[in-house]
Structure formats: C-alpha cells, structure tokens
C-alpha cells in the first residue's frame, strides 16, 4: 500500500476526501460531541455560565415539575412505539405477504401503499387535523353516515383519544415503508425452500410462522430498529396535531416536544434553558443508542444466513 504522500496521487486523494469529511465533522460530529459538553454547564439564554457537573441531569430526572414531565413524555413515547409496532410493522408484514403473492393489481397496490411515505409529515399532520375536526371532519361525518354517530367525538380534543388519533395518522403515513422492506425480504427467499415447504405442509399458518417469518429476520431487525429510533425522536406530527405543549393536558407530549420546549422555550412559559435541554438530549441519545444496540444484536442473533 503506498504511503499517503503529499504529492501526485496523495494530494489528489486528499483533495477528494477533505471537503466531504469537513462537512460531516463540522455539522454532525462536532455538534453531537458538544451536546454532551453543554449538558454539564449552566446556561443563561445563549450565554454559557459555570460548570455544574451533573446538576442538569439531576433536575430533569428528579426535581419537580421536570420529573413528572419527563416521566409523562417518556411513557407516551413507549405507547407510541408499541402501538406503531402493531399498526405499522404488523400491518406492514401482512401487506407485504399479500403483495408477495403477485396477485392481479399487485403493482398498483404497491405504488399506492408507498405513496403516503413520500408526503411531507407536515402535510399529513394538517390533513389529518382537518379530518379529525369534531364538526366538519370526514372521520365524524363518515361515522354519522354509516350509523355509528355515537362514536363521533372530538378526537384530538380529549386526553383519551388524542395520542391514539395521532398514532393512526403516523401509521397511515409510514406503513408503506415496513411493507416494502418486508416484501424485499420475502422476495429474497429462494424458491427451492418454498417448493420444499409446499410438499411438507398445506397450512398457511405454519408456512408463515416457521418459514417466512424466520427468513425475513434481517428485514425485521432493520424495521424494528428504525421504528424504535423514529418513535423516540417523534416530533412533527404531535407538534402540529397536539401543539408544542402536547395538548390536551400533556396527553400527546413526547420527549421530542418536551426537549424542544425546554431548549427553546414556548409561548406560555417563554423560558429557554440550554443546559436542561442538553441534559435531556444526552439522556434521550444514550437511551436510544443503548436500546437500539440491544435490539439490533438480539435480533441479529436470530437471523439465518442463507
């Protein structure tokens, strides 16, 4: 291997590699490293004051009212993750299985299921906000139209239904992603295996649980991990549909909103605190890194090499 000399080829390689590296270093690595440092200082507006050790972490975890805010937001993120696991990834697997059979119209169905994925989350949020409108939204109008008028309610206006309604909008937006990742996984199953299975069993259930599901394990690993990271970074939909405060009564508050509100302030509280915000960011970051790491290694272990 030639040494990297600052002549000829060495210079050429350096010229190619340095500008892109500089971008990643300056706008990704440096901010993330700084986020950790910021959390150990006291801040006043944009001014950094004294080093305070772990005090910011202590405040967001153990001092009221931050403690209950943190717990409430975290609890909602957990709900979002598990609900989307069923609505988005579960439904995605079923749809992928249906598409995989290449029935008439499969191409059209595939394009349709992925269409919402390319839309901006902001557009999805506003669209569903209009649909959920208590009086004029199509959801309640449809319910009344099919004789289920007693089910009509202010979906986003009451604590019991707000988070669930936003989760449904998210599932509509993103279900196409796991569907097509699972579909790609299924299409990679060798046909000899499928022929062999057809000789052994007639049962669709056995085929799905014992053959297809284990063989799409690599797709599942990726889809689960991405959903986990996405669920704990959730911001746009609750921001538009529930508001920055997670209305009503914090029922749609999630860590992303809470972090943003703490760092940059909101209209009602107005107070912004970079120290507490950074502490939250670091905690969320570590939590995501650890759990995503565990999920990935656990799920990788059950993948079968073909």
């Amino acid at each position: 291997m030639p040494q990297l000399r600052m002549t000829g080829r060495g210079l050429w390689i350096t010229a190619l590699i340095v500008p892109p590296l500089a971008f990643v270093a300056l706008f990704i690595v440096y901010p993330i490293v700084s986020a950790f440092a910021y959390a150990f200082f006291d801040w006043q507006g944009l001014k950094r004051l004294d080093f305070v050790g772990l005090e910011n972490f202590h405040t967001v975890l153990f001092v009221e009212p931050y403690r209950s805010w943190t717990i409430n937001a975290f609890k909602n993120n957990v709900i979002v993750f598990f609900a989307l696991m069923v609505l988005q990834n579960g439904l995605g697997f079923i749809l992928a299985y249906a598409l995989w059979r290449e029935l008439p119209g499969a191409r059209f169905h595939r394009i349709a299921v992925f269409l919402p994925v390319v839309l901006s989350t902001i557009i999805v949020a506003y669209l569903f906000k209009l649909f959920y409108h208590p009086l004029f939204g199509v959801v309640n109008i449809t319910l009344k139209g099919i004789g289920l008028g007693w089910l009509a309610q202010p979906w986003l206006g009451q604590s019991g239904t707000a988070l669930g309604s936003i989760i449904v909008a998210q599932a509509w937006h993103m279900v196409g992603f796991p569907t097509l990742v699972f579909l790609a996984g299924m299409q990679r199953i060798p046909s000899e295996i499928l022929d062999a299975v057809r000789m052994e069993t007639e049962s669709e259930w056995v085929k799905i649980t014992k053959i297809v599901w284990p063989l799409v394990a690599p797709s599942a690993t990726i889809v689960f991990t991405l959903l986990f990271v996405g669920a704990f970074n959730w911001f746009e939909l609750p921001y538009i549909m529930g508001g920055l405060d997670g209305s009503p009564f914090g029922s749609t508050d999630v860590l992303g909103l809470y972090f943003y509100r703490t760092a940059f302030g909101n209209v009602s509280a107005g107070q912004q605190d970079f120290g507490l915000g950074s502490a939250l960011a670091v905690l969320i970051f570590i939590f995501i890194a650890i759990v995503a790491g565990v999920i990935t290694t656990r799920l990788r272990a059950r993948e079968i090499q073909l």
Partner: protein, 287 residues
C-alpha cells in the same frame, strides 16, 4: 387411487388457494382505498368552497372552479415558499452528490492508509439522530452568522445526506471493473481525467438511488427550518405551510388547495418514478 378421487383433491386444493388469495386481495384493496382516500378527498376539497366541503365532503367537485388556487397565488407567500424549497433542496442535492461522489471515489478506488477509518467516520453519521444536537447546531450557525439564512439549511442537509450517499456509492464504485481505468492509466491519463471521463459516467445509477434517498427527506423537512429560519421570505414549504394554515384556519377550501399544491410536485414525480423512489427510499434498509 381412482381418477375421481384425484380430481376431488385437486378441486379442494384449488378452492383453498382461491379462498386464501381472495382474502389477501380483499386486504390489499381495502388498504389501497384507505391509502388513497385521504389524498383524493384532499384534492377534491381543493376545488370546493368551504360550505361545499362541509355539506358534501366526498362529492365530486367542479374542477373548473379554481378560486382557491387564485387566492393562494395572489394573496399568500406560497410561491415564495415553493421557490425557497426548490433552491434549498437543489443546492443541497448538488453538494451532496458532488461531495459524496468525491469521497466515495477516493474510498472505493484507492487503497490508502486510514481509508477504512474514514469510511467508519462517515458511517457513524448514518445512525446518529441529529435532531438531538440541535442546540449546538443552533450555536454553530449563530457563530457562522448564517442563522436566518438558507445556507444553514443547505449545510446541515449536506452533512446529513453524505453518510448514506458515501455508503451507497462506495459500495457501487468499488464493484466497478478495473480494466478501463488501468487501460487509461497506461495511456497516460491523469487521475482526475480517469475519474471524470471514464468512471463517473458509470456511477449514474448509484447517484440516482442516493439522490432519491436524500431528496425526499430534505424537501419534506420541517425541523431545521423551524429552528434556523424566522424571516417569512426565507421559509421553505413545510415551514411556510404552518404560517399559511394559521392565517386561513376557517377557509377550508384554501387550506385544502394549499395542501394539494404542496404535495402535487412530489406526488407527480413519484407516480412517474415510483420504482426508483421505492428502491431509493428503502435502499438503506434493504441489503
């Protein structure tokens, strides 16, 4: 076994197959209706007046009635937002593809000390949720005096797009054959000339995949403009929509046409290039 018995079993198998496929087909059709209905309702409502939307939300509109769109054209900053989105997305894509190809070419075609470390450095950026570093990013943009300037968005998007682009393109460039390159080198072509004239035309397919994977999230992004941009004339489309939706809360016809106008470019491109979109957007997740 008698012929009749064989027939009987055959028929049973056929029925079972039809039954299962029939059920799967019903699931697919129901799902497609659910996926398309919101978009169809949105487009229909864009051509209705607000009282019409309230009275018959599902009815076919009169498609010649474009008063809502005229209102958006003449009364709002909508076109400015659209133009800003084109500028920011376009500049980011040019930077991402240029810088990404440069890095991927260096990593994929040359063996040099530290190359695997540099690749790891890029890949580390793949998994880090940059949203959580928004406070230091905000301070950085302030120090660079590009807060409230679209350069802040272009720089962040470029940095965010590079890891996936380098990842996709390094693998592709590495897999290209050596013969052409070696022949050109024998003829005395310079390294830059080999890259530009011989190798780059070959990497176009990978550029399309990497381009689509990045263009959709950048076009749709809301979070970074929310933090970096305050000036209404500099807002991108998703951020401008929040201003617009706030101003016209009761005029549902205008709201729906605003949403329709903002989705139209991406839906139209998606319908034409659906295969590339699906391949591009799932390329990180499909090995």
């Amino acid at each position: 076994m008698s012929a009749a018995a064989t027939n009987y079993y055959d028929r049973k198998g056929l029925f079972a197959t039809l039954g299962r496929d029939g059920m799967l087909q019903i699931i697919l059709i129901a799902n497609t209706v659910l996926m398309l209905a919101p978009i169809v309702i949105m487009v229909f409502s864009a051509f209705k007046t607000t009282p019409e939307i309230f009275k018959s939300p599902f009815g076919l509109p009169d498609f010649t009635q474009v008063a809502n769109f005229v209102k958006i054209w003449s009364e709002t900053n909508f076109l400015r937002y659209l133009l800003n989105s084109f500028v920011v997305t376009g500049a980011s894509m040019v930077l991402i593809l240029t810088l990404g190809t440069m890095a991927a070419y260096a990593l994929g075609r040359y063996a040099f000390t530290g190359s695997s470390f540099i690749l790891m450095f890029f890949l580390a950026g793949l998994t880090l949720p940059l949203k959580l570093a928004i406070i230091p990013l905000f301070m950085l943009m302030r120090d660079l005096s590009i807060l409230n300037n679209q350069l802040s968005l272009i720089f962040v998007y470029t940095a965010m797009g590079l890891p996936t682009t380098v990842f996709i393109m390094t693998g592709f460039i590495r897999s290209l054959p050596n013969e052409l390159e070696d022949a050109a080198r024998m003829d005395g072509a310079s390294e830059a000339r080999i890259m530009w004239a011989i190798m780059l035309p070959l990497v176009r397919p990978a550029m399309v995949i990497a381009g689509i994977q990045n263009v959709v999230p950048i076009w749709n992004d809301f979070f970074f403009p929310l933090v970096f941009i305050q000036n209404d004339n500099l807002k991108t489309l998703p951020q401008g929509l929040t201003t617009f939706m706030g101003e016209y809360t009761t005029d549902w016809g205008v709201l729906f046409s605003g949403l329709t106008l903002s989705t139209a470019p991406i839906i139209l491109i998606y319908i034409v290039l659906s295969k590339q979109f699906i391949a591009g957007m799932t390329s990180g997740a499909v090995k």
